[in-house]
C-alpha cells in the first residue's frame, strides 16, 4: 500500500471507510447533532419521559416510511398511504365497537389484511394499467379518503371505546422502550434484511435502477412491484392499527396529509426519489429525524410556524447532498478511468 493509492480511492475496503460511504450516514449524523444541540439547550429533552415521547412520536412514521421506502426504491410511489392509514384506523375502531371482546391479535390481522388489500389494489393498477404510480395513487388517495368519509360520516371512535390492553401497547415499556416502538424496530430489521439479503429484495433495487433492463434480465417486474405495494399497504395497515392504539380519536379525516411527511422521511433518509438506491434503515432514521425536529424545535422554543420551513430545508439539503455525492463519484470515476487508460 503506497501513498499514491490515496489518489484513487475506488476500493476503500477498510470497515470505517465503507461505513462512512453509507447513504444513511448524513441523516444519522444530522439526528445525533440535533439531539446533542437540543440537549445542551434543554437537558429535559433526553429525560426518560422525553426519550419515550420521541420514540412514540416516531413509531408510526417509521413503519410507514419503511413501507413507502420499499415502493420508492422501485421508482414508484404510493401517495394514498395517509388515506389507507385512515381507513384502517377507523376500521380498527369499528371492530372494537362491534366486538368489544375480540382478541387483539385478530384486530391486528384485520388491519394488516385491509392494508394489504388496499396496497394490492394500488399495485395492481400500477402494474396492469402501466400508468405512472404518481397519478394512480393520487387518485387512490382521494378514493380511499372518500370511502372513509362515506363510511365514517360524522362518526368518531375514542380511546375509551377500545379495551385498555390495546391502549397500553403505546404506554407500556420494556426496558424503557414502548411496545409499539419495539414492533417498529422489528419491522425495520425484517424489511432491511429482506431488501439487502434476499433475491426478491435486490430485484426491487434492480427494477428501480432500470425497469426495462430488469425485464430483460428475466426479473418478474410486475410481480415484484406488486409485492412492494402490498408490503407497503400491509405496513401502513399495521401503522393504522397502532395509530388507533396511540391516539385518542379516529374518524373520517384521520391521517389526512400524512403521505407527504412519509415521502419526506424516506427522501431525507437517503432513498433516491427515482429509485434504485437507499435503504429502509435510512428511511426509518429519516422518520425519526423529522419527528424529533418537531419536538426539538418546540423544546428550543422555536416558533411553530418555522418548523415546517425547516423540514423543507432538510429535504432540499438531503437532495443536494445526494446530487453532490453523485457528481463527485462521476468525476472520480472519470479521472480514475483516464489514469487507467
Amino acid at each position: 500500500m503506497t501513498t499514491s493509492h490515496a489518489l484513487a480511492p475506488t476500493t476503500g475496503r477498510s470497515p470505517f471507510a465503507s461505513l462512512v460511504k453509507q447513504r444513511e450516514v448524513p441523516v444519522a449524523s444530522a439526528l445525533i447533532v440535533l439531539v446533542i444541540v437540543t440537549t445542551i439547550a434543554n437537558p429535559l429533552f433526553v429525560s426518560p419521559q422525553g426519550v419515550k415521547d420521541l420514540m412514540l412520536n416516531a413509531t408510526i412514521t417509521v413503519i410507514m416510511a419503511v413501507g413507502l421506502g420499499t415502493v420508492i426504491i422501485t421508482n414508484n410511489i404510493d401517495l394514498s398511504v395517509g388515506s389507507i392509514l385512515g381507513l384502517v384506523a377507523f376500521a380498527t375502531g369499528t371492530v372494537f365497537n362491534a366486538a368489544p371482546g375480540i382478541p387483539l391479535v385478530f384486530v391486528f390481522l384485520i388491519g394488516l389484511a385491509i392494508g394489504a388489500l388496499l396496497g394490492a389494489v394500488n399495485g395492481f393498477l400500477v402494474t396492469v394499467a402501466r400508468v405512472p404510480s404518481l397519478v394512480i395513487t393520487l387518485g387512490m388517495l382521494y378514493i380511499y379518503r372518500g370511502l372513509n368519509n362515506a363510511w365514517a360520516g360524522g362518526q368518531q371512535y375514542f380511546a375509551g371505546d377500545r379495551p385498555a390492553a390495546f391502549g397500553r401497547l403505546s404506554v407500556d415499556t420494556v426496558l424503557g422502550i414502548p411496545i409499539i416502538t419495539i414492533i417498529a424496530v422489528v419491522v425495520v430489521v425484517l424489511v432491511a434484511i429482506f431488501l439487502a439479503r434476499t433475491r426478491p429484495g435486490r430485484d426491487l433495487y434492480a427494477i428501480g435502477s432500470d425497469d426495462q433492463a430488469a425485464r430483460l434480465f428475466g426479473i418478474k417486474v410486475s410481480k415484484r412491484v406488486l409485492t412492494a405495494f402490498v408490503l407497503n399497504g400491509t405496513l401502513t395497515g399495521l401503522a393504522g392499527v397502532l395509530y388507533a392504539s396511540r391516539f385518542n380519536s379516529v374518524g373520517a379525516t384521520t391521517g389526512t396529509g400524512l403521505e407527504l411527511d412519509i415521502v419526506a422521511a424516506a427522501v431525507v433518509g437517503g432513498i433516491a426519489i427515482f429509485g434504485g438506491s437507499g435503504s429502509v434503515v435510512g428511511a426509518a432514521i429519516g422518520a425519526v429525524l423529522l419527528t424529533t425536529i418537531t419536538s426539538s424545535l418546540t423544546a428550543l422554543g422555536v416558533d411553530k410556524f418555522w418548523q415546517q420551513a425547516i423540514v423543507g430545508i432538510l429535504i432540499l439539503t438531503a437532495i443536494l447532498v445526494e446530487r453532490i455525492a453523485s457528481i463527485r463519484t462521476a468525476r472520480r470515476l472519470r479521472t480514475s478511468e483516464a489514469t487507467n487508460a
Binding site: T10, T198, Y205, D210, Q212, L216, G218, G276, T329
Partner: protein
C-alpha cells in the same frame, strides 16, 4: 481486409440453436417475414443486413423477448419456444445488446448475478461468494474491473465485458452480440474480439451483428445475410468478398459507396488557430474552404468531438481563436455561431440532435423559430411549409410530418437533423459521425447529401471513425491523436495506413503540415455562391 484467418474446416456439427422461416408481425407491420439462422458450437456467425432487415427482431426472438408467430425454433435439435427472457437465459442464451443494460445503482458483482445471486443458508445472499466469483470471472477475461464499484460511470466497453462475464457465469452455450462495437474504440474492439475468440474456442456458439465489414470479416467464421425481413444467404467467411455480401444485403450493386462529387474548392471559410483546452486538446489549427470536405479522423477519445464542440461554442477553450469569413467568432456562444453560419450535426442524434418525441416538422424547424415567428409566436402553417420543403429536398421517408421523429429509421432521423441545419443556410457545417448506426443503403444517401452540400459551396468538417468513409469522402484528412493534430493529408496521399499511423501515434509525425495559408481573402468574395450572405446577420448579432 481479413485480420485473422478463418480457422480451417468449419465444424459440420448440428446447430445448437436454429431458427427456420420465423415470422413476426406487429399489427400490420411485418417485422420478420422469414428469418433463418444457424448457430453452431465453436463458431462465430456474423449477421448482416441493412437497418430494418429484421436483425433486431430475430435477436429478440432468440432472446425470448418476442415469440415468433410461425416458423421453427430448434434448440439442440428440439423444438422450443422461449416465452420470456428468463427462459431463454435459463436455456443458455445470453444477449449483449448494443447499449448494455446494466443497473447503474448496483455494484458490478450484483450486476453479474442479478436475479440469481449465490445464497447461503436460509436463502440469504452470500455477498462474499458473489464478489469472489466476479473477481475470478474478470481474471479469466483478463480485464481488471472492481466488482464492488457501482456500474454507473463505466465505459460502454467495460459494461460489455460485464455482460460477457455474466454470460460466462451463466455457462451460456449461445452468445449473441448485437452491434457491440458501435461505441468502442479500436483497442476496445480488439479486446472484445479477443474475448469472443476465446469463448468460441471453448465451444460457445456466437452470433455477431455489425455494420462494419472489416469487423465482420475479421471475426466471423460464417456470414448470414438478411434483407427485408428474410434470410438471403449464408456464406463461409473465407469464400466470400465484401462486394458479394453488400450485393446480397442491398439486393443491388453498390459500386459507389462514397459518391464524392468533385467540387470547386473556394476560399477559406473557417480557420481555427492554436485552439487549446487544457487536458483535452492542444494547439489545434486547421482551415476549411468553401466546397471542401475535411475529414477529422482519429480513435475514439482523441478529442475530435471536443474540438468541434469548442469551435461551435458549446464548450469553452483556453487559448486560440476561431475565424469565420474573416471575422472572429465569440467563445462559448452557439447562438452567435448559428447566426455566423455554422451548423453542427452532433454525434448522438437521439440525445443531442433531435427532440425524439416531437414531430418531424417541429424538429426540422427547430433552428428556424425566429424567422418563422411573428410577434414572438411561431406560425404553425409556415412551420409546416418550411418542414415539408426540406423533407422533400432531403427525401425524408415518413408517413406524416406530424409523426414523432422517434418513429423514423436511424438514417431518416439523420436526414431530419441535416435538414434542420440546412434550413439555416450554413456556410460551414460540422457533422460528427454522420452515419453511425445507419444501414448501408441510407448511408450512401447521407454521403451523397453531404457531398452535394459541399458541391453547393458549403465548407464541411466531417468527424468519422470509419476509415473508408473518411478516405472516400474527404478532400483533406486531419488526424488527431490524444488531443493533438498529428497529420494533415491530402486526398491523394491519404491512405488507410497513414491515417492509422497518425491516429495511433506510431511515428509519422513529420506528416504534420498546415493547410496552405495566405490564400484566404477576407473580403465579401469569400462567401460561397448559393448561400445568403451571413454578413448582415453577423453584425446584427453583435
Amino acid at each position: 481486409m481479413t485480420i485473422d484467418p478463418t480457422p480451417p474446416g468449419l465444424s459440420p456439427t448440428a446447430p445448437v440453436l436454429e431458427l427456420r422461416g420465423a415470422r413476426k408481425t406487429f399489427g400490420a407491420v411485418v417485422a420478420l417475414a422469414s428469418g433463418s439462422v444457424q448457430l453452431r458450437a465453436g463458431e462465430i456467425n456474423a449477421l448482416v443486413g441493412e437497418n430494418g432487415a429484421g436483425k433486431s427482431t430475430m435477436v429478440k426472438i432468440l432472446a425470448g423477448v418476442h415469440q415468433p408467430d410461425s416458423g421453427d425454433f430448434l434448440f439442440d435439435g428440439h423444438p422450443i419456444v422461449f416465452r420470456s427472457p428468463a427462459e431463454s437465459k435459463a436455456a443458455g442464451v445470453s444477449v449483449i445488446y448494443q447499449e448494455p443494460t446494466l443497473f447503474p445503482d448496483l455494484t458490478v458483482a450484483e450486476n453479474i448475478f442479478v436475479g440469481r445471486q449465490p445464497t447461503s443458508r436460509f436463502g440469504f445472499i452470500d455477498r462474499a461468494a458473489m464478489r469472489t466469483e466476479a473477481r475470478a470471472l474478470f481474471e479469466r477475461l483478463g480485464v481488471p474491473i472492481d466488482p464492488d464499484r457501482v456500474a454507473e460511470g463505466l465505459s460502454i466497453a467495460d459494461q460489455q465485458i460485464i455482460e460477457i462475464a455474466k454470460a460466462i457465469s451463466l455457462d451460456a452455450k449461445v452468445l449473441i452480440m448485437d452491434e457491440p462495437t458501435a461505441a468502442l474504440s479500436g483497442v476496445e474492439v480488439e479486446r472484445l474480439f479477443g474475448v469472443a475468440r476465446a469463448l468460441r474456442d471453448r465451444g460457445s456458439a456466437i452470433l455477431f451483428i455489425s455494420h462494419r465489414f472489416d469487423e465482420v470479416f475479421g471475426l466471423s467464421d460464417r456470414i448470414t445475410v438478411m434483407r427485408d425481413g428474410a434470410f438471403i444467404s449464408e456464406h463461409a467467411t473465407g469464400d466470400v468478398t465484401t462486394a458479394e455480401i453488400v450485393r446480397a444485403m442491398v439486393g443491388r450493386d453498390v459500386d459507389q459507396l462514397f459518391p464524392k462529387q468533385e467540387a470547386r474548392v473556394g476560399d477559406t471559410v473557417v480557420s481555427v488557430d492554436g485552439l487549446t483546452r487544457q487536458g483535452v486538446f492542444h494547439d489545434v489549427s486547421f482551415e476549411v474552404r468553401a466546397g471542401e470536405i475535411v475529414g477529422l479522423a482519429g480513435l475514439v477519445g482523441a478529442g475530435r468531438t471536443e474540438v468541434a464542440r469548442a469551435v461551435f461554442g458549446i464548450d469553452r477553450y483556453d487559448a486560440g481563436s476561431v475565424t469565420i469569413a474573416g471575422r472572429p467568432l465569440p467563445k462559448r456562444d452557439p447562438m452567435a455561431s448559428i447566426t455566423a453560419g455554422i451548423g453542427f450535426v452532433p454525434e448522438d442524434r437521439r440525445k443531442q440532435g433531435l427532440v425524439m418525441d416531437m414531430s418531424v416538422s417541429r424538429n426540422t424547424t427547430l433552428t428556424l423559430r425566429k424567422t418563422l415567428s411573428r410577434f414572438g409566436l411561431v406560425s404553425a402553417r409556415r412551420e409546416r411549409e418550411a418542414a415539408a420543403d426540406w423533407s422533400s429536398r432531403l427525401q425524408v421517408k415518413t408517413g406524416s410530418q406530424e409523426l414523432p421523429v422517434s418513429t423514423l429509421s436511424g438514417g431518416n432521423q439523420q436526414k431530419v437533423v441535416l435538414a434542420k441545419w440546412l434550413a439555416t443556410d450554413p456556410t460551414f457545417l460540422i457533422v460528427d459521425e454522420p452515419t453511425r448506426g445507419i444501414d448501408v443503403g441510407t448511408k450512401s444517401e447521407v454521403h451523397r447529401l453531404i457531398s452535394d452540400l459541399a458541391g453547393r459551396g458549403i465548407a464541411v468538417l466531417m468527424i468519422s471513425s470509419e476509415l473508408p468513409e473518411v478516405l472516400g469522402m474527404a478532400d483533406r484528412v486531419l488526424v488527431m491523436h490524444e488531443g493533438r493534430l498529428t497529420a494533415t493529408l491530402d486526398r491523394a496521399e491519404a491512405t488507410a495506413e497513414r491515417v492509422m499511423h497518425a491516429a495511433t501515434g506510431s511515428g509519422a509525425t513529420d506528416l504534420t503540415e498546415h493547410a496552405p495559408t495566405g490564400t484566404a481573402d477576407p473580403t465579401g468574395t469569400a462567401i460561397p455562391t448559393g448561400t445568403a450572405s451571413p454578413t448582415p446577420t453577423t453584425e446584427a448579432a453583435r
